[in-house]
Amino acid sequence: MLRFVVRRILQMCLVAFVLSMLIFVWLRSLPGGPVSAILGERQTPARRAALEAALGLDQPLHVQYLRFLERASQGKFGVSTKVLPGEDALQVFLDRLPATVELSLLALFLAIALGIPLGYMAARRHGSAVDTGAVIFSLVGVAVPVFFLAFLLKYFFAVEWNLLPVSGRQTTGLDATRVTGMFVLDGILTREWDASWDAFKHLILPAVALASIPFAVIFRITRASVLDVLDEDYVRTAEAKGLTARVVRGRHVLRNAMLPVVTTIGLQVGGLLAGAVLTESVFSYRGIGDALATAFREKDYAVLQVLILMGAVIFVLVNLLVDIAYALIDPRIRTR
């Protein structure tokens, strides 16, 4: 197992290195750039040239990349030009990470907590009204664009019924102590319960919007997987042996059906990062997705590079964890 983990981490380093080069070249091959974003209507060829020279953007691409590698080896990934001007891009990532982790965890929790039981129930009552209703519900989750769902959620729950906040992470003027950057956890750690509850209320709508697609995917995979497993000989054998329904469900059906579901959940983490760009933007939720959207719009190269790179690293790490979980669930994997 250790060798497997080490090998995967080495692979991850290689992926990160190649990706850094691709991102570097890709960003600079796009039209426009930070100079346009900074100068706006004021740009003239002379001002443009001066700013490009000051930022080192007038150098050949390979020189720029070597400088980037040199700085990266010292832990410096360049400073932000627009997201948080003057701040190291890696620090921007670290500052924004807790918000996205908090949001993603709740979204993932919602997707799993709803998707697996509903998927299981739909499969057990295959062809019933419950099954049909749940399938339609999941289709809506996939089909409705996140920004539209977000708009509806905000309109009804925040504006019309005034139950939840429209956007942001915490109510303005709330004197909350920051510890980890995850506001709900911070409130618990400092026993500022009102701050924690307030942050949680701010999380609900974006988490529901973000969970819509992973929920639908997890639901459908669970349903299909349970349907497959229910047809397996060993389930019939278990039932014939006279095992209780609970044991058959828990030990034979659900456990075996979970293998593809766990893989799917791992893949959904990547999807959550992608979904966070839109969700965080429409909810003005200051996480990585919001920073990524701003960085792309304003051509903040340093922040874009770090966020995309770190997104890839997180994706690979989560999939590594999924593989480990997979091995724990299915002992056969460990012996291979």
Binding site: L30, K76, A158, T172, G173, F183, E192, A302
Partner: protein, 556 residues
């Protein structure tokens, strides 16, 4: 999993939480907690973007200036609701005969937020600080470079030549020659007065180029000015900037004890926040929402237009456009009355020249080119350009006060051009993704662009467009009159007498429209801001430079 293992896991989790909880203490102040601010209320404004930092000298964007404007003041200010220059930290100013030395009489009752005295020494310290920038600072200090031309390493080419404290409350600033922009330019946020002590202690000039950006010194996040609000904190994680009332302010105290800016980039979310009552106002509501916002009890405050939308033309890229008759023909094809009434907000106006009527030097005699497709066809035929083809471009992913929806404006203009037989090749690029670069590089025959004035100076409009012969988006260097126009603009700008200078610019405006027509001025649009019920005292500024110290937040 057995019951015993479940219990063990739960116990471990509780212990972990308890251990973590013991590591973190609340840092709440005794009077903290709860929502909202103190006794006189909090005005919460929804900002479209985060500020870059808080030293206005290095700032370049409106969202930063919106915040710093509440904390800093200049020697001269702007009369609320107008673009007119009025006394601020200086009570009066007088030039010498040739307009190269300006003596400012300063207020004697002003202190900076850190308790330091504001006097002539502080004024000269500020000027020298702005003038004496390192290489990175010269690039980042964009506004100084823009209005003063150069820094201390190139002093000969700088408008600013020196500052002398000629009394405790009297400072004399020397400039290289008279210009319509001085001292009006001192109302720019970037040129505000800051505490010398704080500048020194925070190493304010310690800016450095790092990687592909600039790293700013500590002072950039601890600004100290003289204005009605003092800096509170920037809660980056929550996207809020809090300012507190300056109780020692020399003028009338701010009406609210706290001013908060909440960063909400999405316009529809800003509207929903206003409807939910969690913010008290926001900038640039979509014009299609104005009526609905008013119906809901909000106040849409429309500013006087201080901008220009134009159709730029590039004779270098398309030689047919070098013919004045062709350019006039294009102008006659455009149904600008219809464009203004259907695509622009209420209060927008058809432009007759390259500046709005609130700027000195505006020529009231000029009439708009009439919408006359037949005349356009005749002129095109006369020029032998009946089969004219234009690479005509518009930007995406942008909204500007002078063009709320570029695509719709473009479609209206394109339809008019095609109606007289002109073939239009549609070109487009995102604002930061190549559009501006392509305009500057002359890659489009025609394009839409505009300008919002920085201050009340004719040169800030027409000088920006045509004053630099070598570098302008209209390619005027290629025309026989290009140099003459640039020279005339510089000469007019150097006229000391206000009335004479205004007359000179009026003449130039007439020449630009009748004889040169380097581009086609389209319209002036009034941007608006909206405030919720109970908010009073907002004075909309043509320069989008509202000061919020006069704003009060009452009950609903």
């Amino acid at each position: 999993m057995s019951l015993r293992r479940n219990a063990a896991t739960l116990t471990a989790a509780v212990l972990a939480a308890a251990t973590l909880a013991s590591c973190a203490d609340s840092e709440r102040s005794d009077d903290g907690g709860g929502e909202g601010g103190g006794g006189d209320g909090t005005f919460v404004f929804g900002a479209a973007g985060a500020p870059e930092m808080f030293d206005p000298f290095y700032a370049t964007d409106g969202e930063t200036f919106r915040v710093t404007r509440q904390m800093f003041e200049g020697l001269v200010g702007i009369e609320p609701g107008t673009a007119e220059v009025v006394p601020e930290l200086a009570t009066e100013w007088t030039p010498n005969d040739d307009g190269t030395e300006w003596t400012f009489t300063l207020r004697d009752d002003v202190t900076f937020h850190d308790g330091e005295a504001f006097n002539a020494e502080a004024v000269c310290y500020n000027f020298e600080r702005m003038f004496d920038q390192n290489e990175a600072g010269q690039t980042a200090g964009e506004y100084w470079g823009y209005v003063m031309g150069a820094f201390s390493n190139d002093a000969e080419n700088s408008l600013y030549q020196g500052c002398e404290a000629t009394g405790e409350f009297e400072a004399t600033v020397s400039i290289s020659g008279p210009t319509s922009g001085f001292p009006t330019m001192l109302s720019l946020e970037s040129l505000s007065m800051q505490s010398p002590k704080a500048l020194e202690e925070g190493d304010a000039n310690g800016i450095a180029a790092e990687g592909e950006g600039f790293s700013f010194p500590a002072y950039a996040n601890a600004p100290v000015g003289t204005g009605p609000f003092t800096f509170g904190e920037y809660d980056e994680a929550n996207g809020t900037i809090s300012l507190a009332r300056n109780d020692d302010y020399w003028g009338d105290a701010a009406q609210t004890s706290e001013l908060v800016f909440r960063v909400i980039p999405d316009e529809s979310t800003r509207r929903q926040e206003l409807e939910a009552g969690s913010i008290n106002g926001y900038d640039l509501p979509n014009p299609v929402d104005w009526a609905g916002l008013e119906e809901d009890g909000n106040s849409v405050e429309v500013r006087d237009p201080f901008n220009i939308l134009y159709l730029g033309l590039n004779g270098e890229g398309n030689p047919a456009l070098k013919d004045l008759n062709v350019r006039k023909a294009l102008y006659h094809t455009l149904n600008r009355d219809q464009l203004v009434s259907t695509q622009l907000p209420e209060g927008a106006a058809v432009a007759t020249q390259f500046m709005p009527d609130t700027v000195s030097g505006y020529n009231t005699e000029l009439e708009p080119y009439a919408y006359d497709p037949e005349e356009a066809k005749r002129l095109l035929a006369e020029a032998g350009a009946e089969d004219l083809t234009l690479n005509f471009a518009y930007p995406t992913e942008v909204s500007r006060p002078y063009m709320p929806d570029p695509e719709k404006i473009y479609e209206a203009l394109r339809t008019d051009l095609e109606a007289v037989g002109i073939t239009v090749n549609v070109k487009t690029a995102s604002w930061n993704g190549g559009y501006l670069d392509n305009v500057t590089a002359g890659k489009y025959d025609a394009y839409i662009l505009g300008w919002t004035g920085d201050y009340d100076s004719p040169f800030n409009f027409v000088g920006t467009f045509f004053g630099n012969l070598k570098e302008n988006d209209f390619g005027t260097e290629a025309y026989p009159w290009g140099k003459q126009l640039a020279d005339d603009l510089k000469a007019a700008d150097a006229v000391v007498d206000d009335a004479e200078r205004g007359a000179a610019f009026e003449t130039i405006n007439q020449q630009i429209m009748d004889e040169y027509l380097p581009g086609l001025p389209i319209s002036h649009s009034p941007p608006a801001l909206v405030v919720g019920p109970g908010v009073e005292g907002v004075v909309p500024s043509p320069l989008t430079a509202e000061e919020f110290d006069s704003v009060s937040v009452g009950g609903e």
